[in-house]
Assembly symmetry: C2
Homo-oligomer: 378 residues x 2
Amino acid sequence: MALTSQTAALAQADAPAIIEDFQPSSLNQRGQEYPQVNSQGYARFRVIAPEAQSVKASLGLGGQGGTALAKAEDGSWVGTSAGPLDEGFHYYHLSIDGGTFNDPGTLNFFGSRRWESGIEIPAHDADFYALEEVPHGHVQQVLFPSPSTGTPRRAFVYTPPGYEADPDARYPVLYLQHGWGEDETAWTNQGRANLIMDNLIADGAARPLLIVMTYGMTNDTQIGGLASFDIEPFETVLLKELMPYVDSHFRTLADRGHRALAGLSMGGFETKLITTRNPDAFGYIGLFSGGTFSLQDVEGTAGLRDAAKLFFVSYGSRELEGRRTSPPGVPPVDPRANHEGLKAAGINSVFYVSPGTAHEFQSWRRSLREFAPLLFRN
Amino acid sequence: MALTSQTAALAQADAPAIIEDFQPSSLNQRGQEYPQVNSQGYARFRVIAPEAQSVKASLGLGGQGGTALAKAEDGSWVGTSAGPLDEGFHYYHLSIDGGTFNDPGTLNFFGSRRWESGIEIPAHDADFYALEEVPHGHVQQVLFPSPSTGTPRRAFVYTPPGYEADPDARYPVLYLQHGWGEDETAWTNQGRANLIMDNLIADGAARPLLIVMTYGMTNDTQIGGLASFDIEPFETVLLKELMPYVDSHFRTLADRGHRALAGLSMGGFETKLITTRNPDAFGYIGLFSGGTFSLQDVEGTAGLRDAAKLFFVSYGSRELEGRRTSPPGVPPVDPRANHEGLKAAGINSVFYVSPGTAHEFQSWRRSLREFAPLLFRN
C-alpha cells in the first residue's frame, strides 16, 4: 500500500492534474472566449471548423511544440497544451488542413515576417507592464523622409507623461529595435514598452525619456542569414534620416550623452554593429538576447570606451541553460565572462538574467524594466 | 453570319473577358502575392490549404457576394470574383471547412467587431489618399482617464505637419467617428484620414487641424439594434473625458467655432444625436452615410441653427440608388430634399455624393476630402 501510494504520488508529480480554472487570454479579441489560459500556464484552444480534417495550434520558441486539437461533439476543435508555457507573450498560429492561418479568437502581432496570433500567460510580475491608472505617455506614428530608400518610412515615438506641459523641457532619447521578422510595432504591441515606461516614471524609477522605434530590416529582401548581414542600409536610415527627423520634430537633448541604442535579438546584433561603427553616437548601449561586448570589442574600437557610459547585456535564463546565447550564425560566447571582463577593467557593465524565460518577449519586457532606470543618470 | 456575330458581341458585353493583368493588392502583407486585383477591379484569391474540403472568399457590402475557390493542381485554392468590385477598400474573410478565418496574404482591419481581411481595388482618384512625398503629420495614440467607464481609454490624435514647429500656434479640432463594428483604428487604417489631410494641407486646400478618433461603441455589450441605442455613455466619454484631455494636452482652439464632429454610418447617427443634445459644443457637423438633418431637426433644437456653421451630409451613389439612406432601424428619408430644405432656409448645408461607391470606405475617404476643406473657414 505504502509503495503504491508513493508511486501514485510520483506519477502525479510527473504530470500534475490540470486545474480547470481557465480564463480567456488577455490578448483575445473583444468577446472571444478562446484561447484560454489557466493558473498553471496551460493554454487551451478552441477553433470552429466543422468540416476540417486536422487542426493544430503551433506555439513558437519557448512553447511546448504544437498542440493537436481534437474534434468535439459540437463540431469545434479543442485542445490543451501538453504542459505549462513560460510566463508572458507567445506567438503562435493554426495549421488547418495543411494551411497556416491565425486564430480568429485572438489579436495579431507582427513576428516571423507576418502577422501572427498571440497569447499571454499571466506572469507573477505582470504589474510592471499593466495598464494602470497613472499618467500615460503618447505613442506617435511618424512618417519621416528617407532618400536612401526612396519612400517615407514609419517610426513610433513614445513621449512621456508631461511632455506637452512645458514647451521648454528637452528629453533624452532611447532608440529601441525589434528582432528578426518583427517590425516597429513590436516593442509597444508585444513589449508594452510605453506602459513599462509609464509605470517606471510614475514610480520615480526612470528619468522621463523618448523612445523611438523603427523597422530594422531595411535591406528586407537581402536578409538571409545574419552572417551575411549588411548593416549599412539600416545604419543610414537610423543615423542620417530618422535621428535628424526626431531631433527636429521633438524636443530632444541631441548629444551622445543623452542618446541610447538598444535592441532585442537581431536588434541587439544591429546595436552592437552600429555602436562600434559609430562610437560617437550613443552613450548607452543595450543588447537584449542579442550578443555581448567583450573587453576586446570595447578596447578595440577607438573612442568607444570613453563614449559609452553603460554596456547592458541581458538574456532569458532558458537561453543560458540551453547555451543559446547568440543569434544564429554567431559563435556562442559566455555573456557572464564578458561582463566580468568589462567590470574588471573598470567599465560600467550590467548583466541581467530574466528568470524562467526564453528567447521571448517576457525576457525583453523585463530587460527594458532593468535597463531604462540606468539611462541618463550619469 | 451577321446575326451570329452580333449575338457573340452582346454576350461578350454582358460578361467582358477578364484581363490578365492581376497585381498583388496594395494591402497585402510583405512579400505576399495574393490576393490580387486587375485593372477592371476583379479580385483573385489564392489560399494554401491542401486538405481542405471547401474554401470561399466572402466580400462584404458593395462586393459581389462570395467567391468560391476551386482546388488547383498544386493543392492551392484559387478563385476570381464573379464581377468587378467597386473602387476602394473592402472587408472580407475566408470560410474554410465551415470556419471563419482571415486570409494570411493580407493585412487585417477592425470591422464587424473583429479583425477582418482587407483588399484594395485601385481607384481612379487614389492620389488623394496616397502616401506622397509631402510633409506628414503624426498620429498619436493617447490613453486618457475615463472615470465613467472605469478604465483608461484609447484615442488617436492626428497632428498636422508643422505642429511641433511653433509652440504658440493653436489648432481647431475635428472629432471623427467610425461605424458600427469598427473602432478607433478605422479612420487611419481603412480611411487613411492622416494621408488625406497631409495631401490636402500640402495643396493648401484645408486648414491645418487636429483629428481625434476614439471608440464610439462605449456601451459595447448593450448595443443591439440602433433603435434602442443609448447615446449617453459615449456622449459622456467624448464631452466630459476625451475633450478636456485633448484641450489640456494639445494646443487646441477650445471653443465651439473651432470644433467639429463628424462620423460615418453609426458614427453619423451618433454625431446627430450628440450635436442636437449639445448644440453649444460643435460648430461644424458631418454625417457620412449616417443620416441627414431636416429643417425640423435644426429648427426644433434650441440654439443649433445659430451654433452650427455647416451641415454636411454625404452618401455613396449606390446607397441612393438602393434607397439605403439610413442606418438600420431608422426610417428612410430623402437626403437631397432635406438638404434643399436647409438651403432654402438660408442654412449652410452641403450635400455630396461619391460616384460609384456604396456603404464602404471609399465613400467616406471622399467625404472627408470634401468636408475637411470646408472646416473652420468662417
